[in-house]
Subunit: 196 residues, 2 copies
DNA sequence: ATTGACATGAGACATGTGTCTCATTTTTCT
DNA sequence: AGAAAAATGAGACACATGTCTCATGTCAAT
């Protein structure tokens, strides 16, 4: 049993400074050096390595500024219970933040994909899209069978995230408006299929 | 106008040796060093850099062994004109090669995503999935409006490729069988929606 | 066979990563 | 305030990337 020491205020501050410094530098769309992040955070390089075991780990935890909207907040003033309408709204919000933070998200995604499978130096990827999808579907949850609900959620996850943006940009090479249209169309098609 | 010299046989051989050496090493799921690739190809490191401007460029061009099936070959003995049946077959084939070459494809995808937008050191990503999708839809092409056809193709591209595998594995953390079921379900839903 | 063109190899260099040691500061506790 | 504990900084290290220079090999044509 490993005893977990409570981090001191100083440690928490240093850690936070490193993360925000990394965020600031990543907004330029370039993968910053550990030295650059350390300098930006006014900290020495060894100290940076004391808090994060690699640049990738640090960059992987650096927060995206325009974080995904809080689901409860997004649907607070939207009285509709229609899953289609709610999903389209969620998708619009997600689409906006993904395309606005393309450079930052590219760096993070590249780091999380490229790791060796047995490499725990980069923290497990967190899933911001499922809470959003589930919140959008919540009012109509009982209109789906369990099986359909699971499949719908998973299929929507393919469409909502950064990976879809990569496909549109790098593989399909279409503009953002087209991407938006395709995603809306697909969301509608999927939710209708799940509703029978 | 830059004059283009025809590469000598020796040059073609060296280039090919480097690529196949990279492929061999990448099958281990590890991103090999330029030194390792050079040694495996029995070539010095500077020579490797004479043919590829970076490890990423070399790795990005290294062929995936089980390349995507040739569309014409896949549908040769399948007399069905039903777009749904053909798409499901294409998806099955794509799914197999993607999941069998997961490690290799992860390296390639990470390299192509992470590059700076103005960086041409990594060759532009090639699109192997659209020919497959279009071949699957070809017999029924006139059953779709132009708009629906475009949207269907783009939406299917989100489901067919390596990126979807990443979502299933890293974000959803589901097994391959589940991934397969979700993809089949989504393909059916989308093609039916496009058919009205 | 000899020459000239060209592919290659040996090795050095500048930079980034990640780790280490040791000295110095800063915090914390008494 | 003074001592113990802990965080930090300075600087070195081994290794990978990517770029040089220069010497050597190899091929083709006369």
């Amino acid at each position: 049993m490993k005893s977990v020491r409570k981090p001191s205020n100083q440690e928490l501050r240093t850690r936070k400074d490193l993360l925000t410094a990394a965020s600031r530098l990543m907004k330029q769309g370039r993968k910053p050096t550990m030295d650059e992040v350390a300098q930006e955070a006014m900290v020495s390089r060894p100290t940076a390595y004391r808090y994060f075991r690699s640049v990738d780990a640090l960059l992987g935890e650096a927060p995206v500024d325009a974080a995904v909207v809080d689901p409860t907040q997004l649907f607070a003033n939207n009285a509709s219970d229609d899953p289609e309408a709610r999903l389209l709204e969620a998708e619009a919000s997600m689409h906006k933040t993904v395309f606005e933070n393309e450079a930052h998200l590219r760096v993070m995604l590249a780091n999380s994909i490229g790791r060796d499978l047995s490499d725990d130096s980069v923290p497990a990827r967190q899933n911001r899209r499922m809470p959003l999808i589930e919140a959008a579907l919540a009012p109509a949850r009982d209109r789906f069978t369990d099986g359909d609900y699971e499949k719908l959620c998973a299929a929507l996850a393919l469409i909502f995230g950064t990976e879809a943006m990569i496909v549109f940009r790098d593989v399909l090479r279409v503009d953002e408006t087209t991407a938006r249209e395709v995603k809306s169309w697909a969301v509608r098609a999927l939710v209708r299929a799940a509703l029978r």
